[in-house]
Amino acid sequence: MTSTTISVNGRTVTADVEPRLSLADFLREHEGLTGTHTACEHGVCGACTIMLDDRPARSCITLAVAAHGAEVRTVEGYDGDETMATIRESFKKAHAVQCGYCTPGMLATAYDIVTRLPDADRDRIRLELAGNLCRCTGYIGIVDAIEMTLAEIRGGS
């Protein structure tokens, strides 16, 4: 067992864990934050994407012990965040959700696109989404939603 201290959605958590425990399983099983999903556990599909020190990262191939000292933000951690509220609203309007399994990871990536690439066009949005698989929506609704969010943010500022 190794001790790890992680800030999870603004709350500091210290736990003794097996070194082999992934950050995803730590969040899901120790913290009960089951909004973070896993669908490949080798970094490809993006379902487990969370924010690690404000940047998207794969929680399935990040060890909980290696996240020691980091700030983690999961899909459950956006209370009061206006950008995420806009993204979520756009996802609803554009029908960017079907089964919902990929959605938390999609939201993390969408958040990264919206905050890092304010001028992204549809091609760029698609490229940035390449690391988040969705088997249901065919992505077009997701691209629409992110484009809508960007337009809204541009219009608002």
Binding site: P19, R20, H42, G43, G46, P56, R58, L63, G131
Partner: protein, 283 residues
């Protein structure tokens, strides 16, 4: 899929890392971003006894630029290169290469040094550093040494690193203002490992022209024949394209880089080489 059990230690200094890695009966491995090791652990392909986390070591995060180039610490991640946080001494080649590796979430954790040390034959950094004539600073129980990028990877997933050795930093020489480069990555989906990846660097002022090629089945190679043609060329033409394609085919066959009977693979590698050369010569 969960990893087999292992121990874990955070190294606070290079010395400590080397010491830890020399223990565990030779069954210890450095952990950088975990973006290659993580999948291997989860698939139980890698079953180390001990992981030594390099991320706390401050000096491995350093980047320093001088007249001749830039030194990139081992813990520098792909996205830092992509975003230009690492001074680009290569006229944009490093940034282009970085942005084509995997996806942002992977680039935020994966390191340049980790990628080279992992030695995936289709990895992006090996052909880039080889074409740039970069070198790796290595530290180990026997002290420090420098290894040229083109001598670092010997076989797929195999490097010249001895047990206990760590890549400390990557030294990338500065390209001159007149240098031109080409970079062509062919993959099924953006962010995938390459089916074929060619990098061409032509720097007449420094009297250097190098062409590197990477693919899924063989360690990356330098194509000297192609480099000779590119160095001599004075523009792009269909005839030159044919010559380069032939030279590439020759180099690929000679190195055993692809199965000579596999016409598809042979053709793809040659085509990708031509396209990288065209970019370098059309800029």
């Amino acid at each position: 899929m969960k990893p087999a059990p292992f121990d874990y230690a955070r190294a606070e200094s290079l010395d400590e890392a080397v010491r830890l890695l020399s223990g565990a009966d030779g069954d210890a491995r450095p952990l950088a971003g975990g973006q290659s090791l993580g999948p291997m652990l989860n698939l139980r392909i890698a079953r180390p006894a001990l992981l030594v986390d390099l991320s706390p070591i401050a000096e491995l995060r350093e980047v320093s630029e001088d007249e001749d180039g830039v030194t990139i610490g081992a813990s520098v991640v792909h996205s830092a290169v992509e975003d230009g946080e690492v001074p680009d001494v290569t006229g944009g080649l490093m940034r282009r290469a970085a942005s084509g590796i995997a996806y942002r979430a992977v680039r935020n954790r994966g390191t340049v040094a980790g990628s080279l040390a992992h030695a995936d034959p289709a990895g992006d950094w090996a052909p880039v550093t080889m074409a740039l004539g970069a070198s790796l600073g290595v530290t180990g129980p026997e002290g420090r040494r420098t290894v040229a990028a083109d001598a670092f990877i010997t076989d797929p997933l195999t490097t010249v690193l001895e047990p206990g050795e760590i890549v400390e930093a990557i030294r990338v020489p500065r390209l001159s203002g007149t240098a031109r480069w080409g970079h062509y990555k062919l993959c099924v989906k953006p962010g995938d490992f390459a089916e074929s990846l060619a990098v061409v660097v032509r720097d007449p002022d420094r009297d250097r022209c190098r062409v590197a090629l990477a693919g899924p089945t063989h360690a990356p190679i330098l194509l000297d024949g192609v480099a000779g043609l590119v160095a001599e060329a004075s523009g792009w033409s269909d005839a030159l394209a044919d010559e380069i394609k032939d030279a590439a085919g020759g180099g690929i066959a000679a190195a055993g880089f692809a199965d000579a009977d596999d016409r598809y693979a042979m053709n793809v590698h040659a085509t990708v080489t031509v396209r990288a050369a065209r970019e370098a010569l059309s800029r």
